[in-house]
């Protein structure tokens, strides 16, 4: 028994690992991405340029990265978790300093072939770091209040930097991802209850710190008709697009709202409305179904992972993926204010696509290495 375990633990070849890649997840990811390609083709008026072709290339690169991440030993990732976190934090600081010193208020670093957003990296890095932190604690230790301080700081540092950019959507995603790990890592339940209640005064506090355009977005969300040609315009036009799609949709490249440019940001944040308009309820439910399958499978996988690090890591990635999907779709359907969150694997954009594929790579990695046990010390046991 032990020998077999031992054998599994150490002698998995690259080919073996590749064969253990969860095919269902890979297929669903490709299906979702294909939906994205089709929609980008449609919003360009039936052309591969300027979006669909680039998106395919990025996806292929991303898929490659995903597989690489999946086959690398999970203990290597655990080992790299903290350095990776600090690297991401440094990049965030650099970006905000650059923004502060007037060298252009950018959120990204130009890598030549793509623009890297450190805030995207941070979403991954924070989950890695927190997973490692809680991996190394016993259940009792995880419940101690003193042990809560480092992870809170780990969350707070990037959130403050991202808020300074200012990027409300990303900071909310970072907080939500981090809190999910804390919750599953064993932090006491009542702290979350207190935290939830504390959000009410915090909301007031935050309101005063919000930029006018952010305040306007919240107000407009609560009543889009407040400013139908200004801030409420996006929300109203998106709802019209979705609603007018009906059950069967208007047909591929036939959506009047998207083809005639009534939809804002139709190739990025509001791409779901294009789907809902052109393919109707069928299309919308279909894509949501793919997401549900992907997430459900990811959740099943993390339940079966032996190491706490692998569990928390894959769960954190799944939650992050869900948050992207939920916030974006809810925003497209006029359920939450307009925040800059893309639709996972569908919206045009390199950084988000990479982040999400990397995230799924970690889920697959946890799946391949589900039986690997890692000591609390973190070393190769």
């Amino acid at each position: 028994m032990a020998a077999r375990l031992q054998g599994r633990r150490y002698s998995k070849s690259l080919l073996q690992k590749l064969s253990e890649l969860n095919l269902l997840i890979v297929v669903v990811v490709i299906m979702i991405a294909v939906v994205g390609f089709a929609l980008l083709y449609s919003v360009a008026g039936g052309a591969a340029d300027p979006w669909a072709k680039k998106q395919v290339i990025r996806f292929v690169i991303g898929m490659f990265g995903m597989v690489v991440i999946a086959v690398i030993d999970i203990r290597v990732w655990m080992f790299l978790a903290y350095p990776f976190y600090f690297l991401s934090l440094m990049l965030l600081v650099i970006v905000s300093v650059m923004g502060q010193t007037g060298m252009g208020a950018t959120r990204w670093i130009n890598l030549g072939f793509m623009n890297l957003q450190p805030s995207e990296l941070m979403k991954i890095a924070l989950i890695l770091a927190l997973a490692r932190y809680y991996h190394c604690l016993t259940k009792d230790e995880a419940g101690q209040y003193g042990r809560l301080i480092p992870p809170l700081l780990m969350i707070a540092a990037p959130v403050i930097l991202v808020l300074m950019q200012p990027d409300l959507g990303t900071s909310l995603l970072i907080i939500a991802g981090g809190v999910a790990i804390l919750f599953c890592g064993g932090v006491r339940l009542w702290i979350f209850i207190v935290g939830l209640m504390a959000m009410i005064p915090a909301a007031f506090f935050a309101w005063n710190f919000m930029k006018p355009y952010q305040q306007s977005r919240v107000l407009t969300f609560l009543n889009p008709e407040r400013d139908p040609l200004g801030a409420g315009y996006h929300s109203i036009q998106a709802k019209i697009a979705v609603g007018s799609g009906g059950v069967h949709g208007k047909g591929f490249i036939q959506g009047s709202q998207s083809q005639l440019n009534f939809l804002p940001e139709k190739h990025t944040d509001f791409i779901f409305t294009v789907l809902a308009e052109e393919f109707g309820l069928m299309g919308g439910v279909g894509l949501l179904g793919l997401y549900i399958i992907l997430l459900a499978y990811a959740l099943i996988i993390c339940m079966g992972v032996r190491s706490q690090f692998g569990r928390l890591l894959s769960f954190g990635m799944a939650v992050t993926f869900f948050l992207y999907m939920f916030i974006n779709v809810a925003m497209n359907l006029g359920m939450v204010p307009v925040v800059g969150v893309p639709l996972p694997l569908v919206s045009y954009g390199g950084s988000a696509m990479l982040t999400l594929l990397v995230g799924i790579g970690f889920v697959l990695c946890a799946a391949i290495h589900r039986d690997t046990t890692i000591s609390r010390g973190g070393a190769f046991a």
Binding site: A142, C184, I240, G243, S244, V247, L260, T373
Partner: protein, 626 residues
């Protein structure tokens, strides 16, 4: 390997991850529910909103109906207006393009600034007008140079044009931009650049001329740019109006009285078709189309000769002696006089305690009816008017069309005034006096007529007694032509009147004998009139009655003439009023003679023209009445 702590951690993880998963499931259901709400329950509402976004209904302006004369000559048409626009998004540099265009057509600095301002304000794909009303040569040069003029778009619009300028200004009227009060239920009126009739026929027949708007449903994008046409209902052009006016006669008449403040009406005595209706001075309706300058408009308003008034239907004048046929016929019909009885004129006529005078200071001596008409003896008519009484004169005047409107399709038509005892009591609060009747007897006093009424009166006198009404438009096809009703009188009495009217021109004692037929084919008769504008005072009469030429223009008598021709089988009636023109015989009658002469000459030249055809047809149909 698997410690108790690990096991505990695993259990906790599973519990809490399950909790979160449940939360995610609930949230996802929320998304699905929302999707169902928007796309199934709300789909119709949102489809409507999407269509409202996407579909724009554009009006297609109908072509305004043309106005033609009886021979098909253009009186009001739609002319192509050559314009040059610039589409900013197609120009690399608007200023450079304008600079290049300057080589072809002049662009003032002010225009340039206006264009650049409009370019900045409008959306880049909407054209901005650079120049309009270009002549063909300039327009052609712009077209040839298009490759060197990026963004320039030659364009053709439609403007209303009156090729005869001021010739028919009062009848045809003009069109102009819609003002805010006029915007009603017809959405056409809100179309930029749309013009509606503001005067004349253009105004009162605007609905017929306007036509019906078409529309085009087009798909537009968020910027309002048209993507494609979805459906189209073409517009329906307005009706073409065929006037009874003969452009050539109108032109001759207008030229003949161009320097006067005058009105001339020429009519077919059988059909009532108006061949010419002139009022001078006039104005150029083309000025009003594009917006007249305040200075020009003020000049028209302040002109004492009132160019904006259509004197032929709006001017009310005392008929003077032209009224005498009515009085004479009333007296003959009543049997209070016959054609043999002579009345002595010593130029004075006593009524009550006032003395009335004849225009001829030495008096006419003994005159009978025919000579009294021809020589226009006032004393004779004081006497017979007194004998017959105002009631019968009023009645006879009414039968011949005085004192009421005819409802002709020209705006502003006035009633004139056919006075009666009842009228005086109601309006002046006084009883009718013998002196009033005497005044009416010579067409002075309260009686007022319009030149149109005089022309109708003359027609009815000479056409065999048919109560024709004036027409300016040919009846629409299909409407039946009814013979006007007969005016009742004894033919022998009318013959006496007609003898008198013929004698005015053709007998040595006639006041217009100077105009008698000298050349073959110009036979006509009529009646002169000189209407006092200002009463001649007793003191003035004691010294000396001033001649007209000695008075200031505004105090001179109006010169009138009603005429008809030819003498045998009369076909045309003419009425002429020259405001403050002096004597009817010297001023107005020659105009009538020239106009009739022109018409006869025109008939000779073009015997097949409609003018003959329609007149001959009407003539033949009831020739036995004459």
């Amino acid at each position: 390997m698997v410690t108790a702590s690990d096991d505990q951690k695993y259990k906790l993880f599973t519990r809490r991850a399950g909790l979160i998963s449940g939360g995610m499931l609930i949230l996802t259901s929320g998304l699905l529910g929302r999707l169902y709400y928007l796309q199934v329950i709300g789909q119709n509402q949102y489809k409507l909103l999407a269509d409202k976004n996407r579909i724009s209904l554009r009006l297609l302006a109908p072509e305004r109906g043309k106005i033609l004369d009886r021979n098909g000559h253009d009186l009001a048409i739609n002319r192509t207006d050559y314009r040059v626009n610039i589409i900013p998004e197609e120009a690399d540099n608007v200023e450079e393009t304008l600079e290049a265009l300057k080589a072809i057509l002049p662009i003032s600095e002010r225009q340039r600034r206006r264009i650049l301002k409009a370019v900045k304000r409008q959306r880049a794909f909407l054209p901005v007008t650079v120049a309009e009303n270009l002549d063909w040569a300039t327009f052609a040069r712009v077209n040839i140079n298009i490759p060197d003029l990026p963004g320039i778009q030659p364009d053709m619009g439609i403007t209303r044009y009156y090729p005869e300028k001021d010739l028919l200004a009062h009848i045809v009227g003009y069109v102009s931009s819609v003002n805010e009060q006029e915007i009603g239920e017809d959405p056409l009126l809100e179309l930029p650049g749309f013009k509606i009739g503001k005067n004349g026929m253009e105004r009162i027949l605007d609905q017929r001329l306007r036509g019906k708007a078409g529309n085009s449903r087009v798909e537009v994008n968020v910027m309002g740019r048209m993507i494609r046409e979805l459906s189209r209902n073409d517009s329906v052009s307005g009706d073409t109006l065929n006037l009874t006016i003969d452009r050539d006669i109108q032109k001759f008449t207008a030229d003949r009285v161009r320097d006067e403040s005058a009105a001339v009406v020429v009519m077919d005595v059988h059909s009532g078709e108006i061949l010419s209706l002139t009022s001078t001075p006039a104005f150029d309706p083309n000025d009003f189309n594009l917006g007249i300058s305040q200075k020009k408009y003020d000049a028209l308003l302040n002109d004492a000769r009132k160019p904006l008034t259509n004197k032929a239907v709006q001017g009310e004048y005392p008929p003077g002696s032209t009224f005498k046929m009515i009085v004479a016929l009333a007296a003959l019909e009543a049997g209070v006089i016959d054609d043999q009885e002579k009345i002595f004129c010593n130029s004075r006529y006593e009524i009550g305690n006032t003395t009335k005078h004849c225009w001829k200071r030495e008096g006419h001596g003994h005159v009978a009816m025919v000579e009294a008409i021809a020589a226009s003896c006032d004393v004779y008519f004081y006497e017979i008017a007194g004998r017959v009484g105002i009631d019968k004169i009023h009645d006879m005047a009414a039968r011949f069309g005085l004192g009421r409107k005819f409802g002709i399709d020209i705006p502003g038509e006035r009633n004139g005034l056919n006075p009666s005892k009842g009228w005086k009591l109601a309006n002046r609060g006084a009883r009718w006096q013998g002196g009033d009747t005497a005044n009416v007897g010579i067409g002075q006093g309260d009686v007022l007529v319009t030149p149109l009424q005089l022309c109708v009166m003359t027609s009815r006198l000479v056409n065999g007694g048919r109560a024709v009404t004036p027409k300016i438009l040919f009846p629409e096809k299909g409407s039946s032509l009814e013979l006007p009703e007969k005016i009742s009188y004894q033919q022998k009495n009318m013959d006496i009147i007609l003898q008198g009217m013929a004698a005015v021109v053709n007998r040595p004692f006639g006041v217009a004998y100077a105009l008698r037929e000298t050349e073959k084919g110009l036979s006509f008769g009529g009646k002169t009139g000189s209407a006092q504008v200002r009463r001649i005072t007793k003191s003035e009469r004691d010294v000396r009655v001033r001649k007209n030429e000695e008075k200031p223009w505004i105090e001179r008598d109006h010169a009138l003439f009603v005429g008809y021709g030819p003498l045998e089988n009369p076909r045309y009636a003419v009425s002429v009023i020259v405001e403050h023109g002096g004597g009817g015989a010297t001023k107005a009658a020659p105009i009538a003679k020239d106009v009739l002469g022109y018409i006869f000459a025109k008939e000779q030249e073009t015997p097949s023209k409609k003018i003959l055809a329609s007149a001959g047809k009407m003539h033949g149909s009831h020739g036995e009445d004459i």
